[in-house]
């Protein structure tokens, strides 16, 4: 047992340093690379945020959600419309977008939350498509149809703090991603996170264990949608416009891949997955039409060689399994 603990401790110290190292790297990076790559990393951040949000639904609770972009669209359009029509500052709209997306998720998911597996999957696809098509049809004449909404401001709080260049956007998104990660790690280690995982493992047993399955599934959707709404807010202000085609089914599929390539329910995994999905195309852009070919092949290869994801979530001492067995034998 003692041996076991030592290794655990060493491992966590190593992990701590790794995290600090990566954090420092992220802080100094914009000074090393050019604005294009800063922007690439910004979009990496957006994907990371989206990946984290989907990870709640897909990774933690195991619900197939292939329409997640719909939630982001709600957030982005809330921001776009309220900002361009009423001039409400973007940063004030940040929580409002989150609430709008979350409320939308609650509304549409309540009646369908009892569906299982693939049935839920197709409903989320349908929901995402409904959102996109409705926006595309210029609902109430305010979504701008296929053109979308133009002329969105930069995020600012009055005139004190304004995010107006690539570097600031970069820090802005990664600050939010960082805070989100802390919040989600806390959740993972709480009864909420446990309840989610129980539902993923066995719904009936979870219900019988005292977990209100419907409530926690909805909670996951609402939180996930809220975070996607935040991502939508930042995305809209970065591009200064929103249009429905940014939120299509393919993008939802890519989000799905982010979670699985990284490893279900694993936060470092989501970061790696979003890096893979958002950086890969940039590195391979020179291959022009072959780029997507390589991209697809890489996805297949990834799953063949690491089906559990690149950085799967480990539980308890699963990593030290063999050691523990020995310890157990000594004790028992």
């Amino acid at each position: 047992m003692k041996l076991n603990k030592n290794i655990k401790e060493k491992n966590s110290i190593f992990k701590k340093w790794l995290i600090i190292l990566i954090a420092i790297l992220f802080i100094v990076l914009p000074f090393i690379i050019n604005a294009y790559w800063v922007d690439v990393l910004f979009f990496f951040g957006i994907y990371a945020l989206l990946g984290l949000s989907l990870n709640i639904v897909l990774g933690e609770v195991g619900l197939f959600d292939l329409g997640h972009m719909g939630f982001m669209a709600i957030g982005a359009y809330t921001t776009a419309i309220l900002n361009t029509y009423f001039g409400i500052p973007i940063m004030i709209l940040l929580p409002i977008s989150a609430i709008a997306a979350g409320a939308f998720a609650w509304l549409v998911c309540s009646p369908i939350i009892h569906l299982r597996g693939d049935y839920l999957c197709i409903v989320t696809i349908g929901m995402g498509e409904i959102v996109r098509l409705t926006l595309n049809n210029n609902l109430f004449g305010i979504t701008g149809g296929p053109n979308g909404v133009f002329g969105i401001d930069f995020p600012s709080l009055g005139s004190i703090f304004i995010v107006d260049n690539s570097t600031k956007f970069y820090y802005y998104i990664w600050l939010i991603v960082g805070l989100t990660i802390i919040g989600l790690v806390n959740l993972q280690r709480s009864r909420i996170g446990r309840a989610w995982n129980c539902i993923r493992e066995d719904e009936i047993a979870a219900e019988a264990t005292g977990i209100d399955v419907k409530y926690y599934k909805l909670l996951a959707f609402v939180l996930g949608a809220g975070l996607a709404g935040v991502a939508g807010n930042i995305y809209a202000s970065k591009l200064m416009m929103v249009s429905p085609e940014s939120f299509n089914f393919m993008e939802s599929c890519l989000l799905f891949c982010i979670v699985l390539i990284g490893g279900m329910g694993s936060i470092p995994g989501v970061l790696i997955g979003s890096a893979a999905i958002s950086l890969f195309p940039e590195f391979f852009r020179t291959f022009a039409q072959y780029r997507m070919l390589i991209f697809g092949a890489a996805m297949v290869a990834m799953m063949i060689f690491r089906p559990g994801g690149i950085w799967p979530r480990k539980r308890g001492a699963a990593e030290f399994k063999s050691l523990l067995m020995k310890a157990g034998e000594e004790n028992g």
Partner: protein, 282 residues
């Protein structure tokens, strides 16, 4: 598993003792004309069951008699087609499983249903879900209250794990421990919700005779915690060894109930369930 090696004799009460206990104890749980249909099949048919406080009651009957179905209706997994389930004087009709466990009825499953990819400790911690209340925001922010509660959950879970003898597997994934241990873990998870009534569906299936005996001792030790136990069993050693009261059902109906040995010698039960006692091998 509990390690004290009490001999079996001390664990078995005499007939008179049993009768006395039955008189003193009040009924905490009962079903009243419970009915459940699957299509044309009436799996449970006007079934009455009584369970007395602080006792171990057994429900036995041939395969397919409807025992598990009774449990499923009682714990809210199936909706009854008729009749009532009353626990501590309250009708449980229409309650969802998660509400029922909160009322104090915890269960295990005939085919073990653990959270396979979570550790043993986490499984037992999950069992306390209905006894804890910190919400989403306090969890995200890790408020002091939340931390305190989480620590308590962990502490309790550790105690329960020790109680069921699985402490050394706390960090093992549930799917990786041996079958018998999984059964104990499931009981541990149910116990973690501090139930008043524990419902076990064939707890000894898949255990060998020796292990079943350990289980008997363990279940008896639970009575000291002021727990009431209702179990389904096919192993007569277990049923006769620990029950205060036995109910027999066949084809959805009650065909007999009574003290263990009365039931054991009831011709109808022998006919339907136990079989003629032809010469034992020894």
């Amino acid at each position: 598993m509990a390690k004290d090696n009490n001999s079996m004799e001390t664990m078995i009460r005499t007939k008179q003792e049993n009768e006395e206990i039955n008189k003193i104890n009040k009924v905490v749980f009962q079903t009243d004309k419970l009915t459940k249909k699957f299509g044309g099949l009436i799996a449970v048919n006007n079934f009455d069951l009584k369970v007395s406080q602080g006792q171990i009651s057994s429900l036995i009957g041939p395969n397919g008699a409807g025992k598990t179905t009774v449990f499923n209706v009682v714990t809210g997994i199936y909706k009854a087609d008729g009749g009532k389930v009353v626990f501590k004087g309250e009708d449980l009709a229409g309650k969802k499983p998660h509400q029922i466990i909160k009322k104090g009825i915890a269960r295990t499953f005939q085919n073990i249903r653990l959270f396979s990819n979570m550790t043993c400790l986490e499984n037992v911690m999950a069992g306390q879900h209905c006894r804890s209340r910190e919400g989403t925001w306090s969890s995200v922010l890790q408020t002091p209250g939340q931390r305190k509660e989480e620590l308590e959950i962990k502490k309790n879970a550790e105690d329960r794990l020790k109680q069921v003898g699985l402490w050394k597997y706390q960090d093992e994934l549930a799917k990786n421990i041996a079958y018998g241990n999984q059964r104990m873990l499931e009981i541990g998870r149910a116990l973690a919700s501090n139930p008043d009534l524990l419902i076990l569906d064939e707890p000894s299936s898949g255990l060998n005779d020796k292990e079943s005996e350990d289980l008997i001792i363990f279940l008896k030790s639970l009575l000291k915690e002021d727990l009431t136990i209702l179990l389904i069993e096919h192993d007569m050693n277990v049923v006769m060894g620990i029950s205060h009261w036995v109910t027999v059902m066949d084809e959805g109906k009650k065909i007999a109930e009574g003290l263990p040995e009365d039931v054991y010698n009831n011709p109808q039960v022998i006919e339907a369930y136990l079989g003629k006692d032809e010469e034992e091998e020894e």
